[in-house]
Symmetry: C2
Subunit: 284 residues, 2 copies
Amino acid sequence: MGALTEIASNKVFGGFQKVFSHESKYLGCVSKFGVYLPPQAEEKKLPVIYWLSGLTCSEANFIEKSGAQRYASEHGVIIVNPDTSPRNLNIAGDSESWDFGVGAGFYVDATQAPWKNNYKMFSYVTSELIQIISENFPILDGKQSIMGHSMGGHGALICSLKNPGLYKSVSAFAPICNPSECPWGVKAFTGYLGPKESGEWAQWDATELVKSYNGPPLELFIDQGSEDNFLQAKQLLPENLVEACKTHHVPVIYKKREGYNHSYFYIASFIEEHIKYHAEYLQK
Amino acid sequence: MGALTEIASNKVFGGFQKVFSHESKYLGCVSKFGVYLPPQAEEKKLPVIYWLSGLTCSEANFIEKSGAQRYASEHGVIIVNPDTSPRNLNIAGDSESWDFGVGAGFYVDATQAPWKNNYKMFSYVTSELIQIISENFPILDGKQSIMGHSMGGHGALICSLKNPGLYKSVSAFAPICNPSECPWGVKAFTGYLGPKESGEWAQWDATELVKSYNGPPLELFIDQGSEDNFLQAKQLLPENLVEACKTHHVPVIYKKREGYNHSYFYIASFIEEHIKYHAEYLQK
C-alpha cells in the first residue's frame, strides 16, 4: 500500500476537508480522493460514508457543491469520495466522449481490452480504498455506508448488493438503476464488459442484482427529482428497480422530489436527509 | 432598462436559484447576475441581500459553493449576486492579470482611460442593479442589505459607507479593508483612479470613508479567518479599519475564525450567521 500525499486541507464546519493522492494498485495510476474529517475525529474513531460521483466528475464536485460537510460535522461521520475513473493513462479512446473512459468508470471491473488492466473501479472502491481509509484515518471497524449520484448512485447500489454486509446502508440520488437497458449503460457495459451476450452485464446492474440478493437485510434508499431530464430520457429507470425490489422482497424507499432536476442543487437540498439516514444505521 | 434573459433556473432548498443576463447601461456590455428566490417569494414581497464576490469570480462561485440558499430559504430573503466586472469588452490589458481588469472591477467607478467608460461597478451595483431587481422581483421597497468576500467585502463596505441609509446592514468576509495601503488595492486604484496624488483613492477606501461617515447609524460586521494567507500577506488589513472605526466611533463587530482560510469553505461555514444577522436588520 503506497503512502498518501495530502494535496489540500481546508477547515470547514469545524473539521477539515482534505484531498489525498496515492498510487492505486488496482487502477495502475495516481488516484485522488476527498476525506472530510469532522471535529469529532480529533478525539475518537468514527463511522464513514463513501460517496460515489457521477459522469464527468472528479473528486472536486462533491467537495465544493454538496454542502455535505455541515451534516457530517453535525452527525460525527467521516465522508470519503473517490474519483470516478483512472486518470492520465492515455488509453486510446479514453477521452473521446464524456460518458465513457475518463470520468466515466461506471464502478465496474472491466473485462475487455484495453480497459481491463486499469478500469477496476469496483475493486478499487470496495477493497483497496476501504483498506487505505481504515489504515490512515480514525475509522470504527466495519462501520461504513455508501451513497452516490447518477452513475455513482448505480455504483453505490452495486457495491452494496454485490458485497452483502459490507455496508450498513446504501442510498442513491437519481441513480442509473438498470444500466443494461439505458443508452449510457449499454455503451459503457459494451465497452468495459463486452456484448450483452457475454452474460456479464447482469452482474453489474442493480435491477438484476436485487433479483438474486442473498444476504443480511438491505434497504435501498432511492431519491429522484421529478424534473430530471435524464429521468425523462429513460437513462435512470428507477421504476424498473423499484418493481424488481417489490417482486423480490428487497425493501426499498423511493422518494420523489417535486420540481428538482439532476444537478448538485438537488443533491445539496437533500443530502442532510441522506447523511442522517446513514448515521442512524451506523450508530446502531 | 433592458429586458432580462433567464439563462438558468434550478430548484434548491424549496426555492429557485436563477441566473439572468441583461444589457447594462453603466457597464456597456451584457452582464449576468444570480438571484435566489426562496419559496416565500411566491406569496409575498421579501427583503434582499446583495452579495459581492472576490477577485477572479463570476456570478457562479457564490451560487455553487456558498450554500447560502438554505439559509435564505429559512429566513425568507432573496439573494442577488452580480458579476465582478464588465465582460467581453476586449479592452487592451483587461485580461493580462488576475487582479486587474476582467474579474477584478473593484466596485469603483473608474476615472482613467481606457477603463472609465465601462468599469463602473459601483454605479452598477448601487443604482442600476437595485432598480432592475426592484422592477423584476418581489422586493420589499428599501429593505436591502449587502455583504461580500475579499474584493467584494471591500465593495460591500464602500457601497454602504458611500450611500448612507441605502443598505440596512453590511457584512464582509475577509474584506480588503484599506486598499490604498495594500498591493492589490494600489495596483487597481492606480489603474482605475490614477495616481494616489489624484486624491480619488480615499473616496473608495473603507478605512478612509469611516473617518468621514455621516449618516444613519451603521455597524460594520467584519469576519476574518485566522489562517488566511492574504491576511498574512497584508492584503486585507482589517486592523486598520477596526482602528479607524474605534477612533471615529463607527460601531464594528470583528470576528476572527480560528483556523479558517480565505476560501469558500470558510464562507460556507459562517454564511448562516451573516444571513441571520442581515435578516434581523431587514425584518425591523
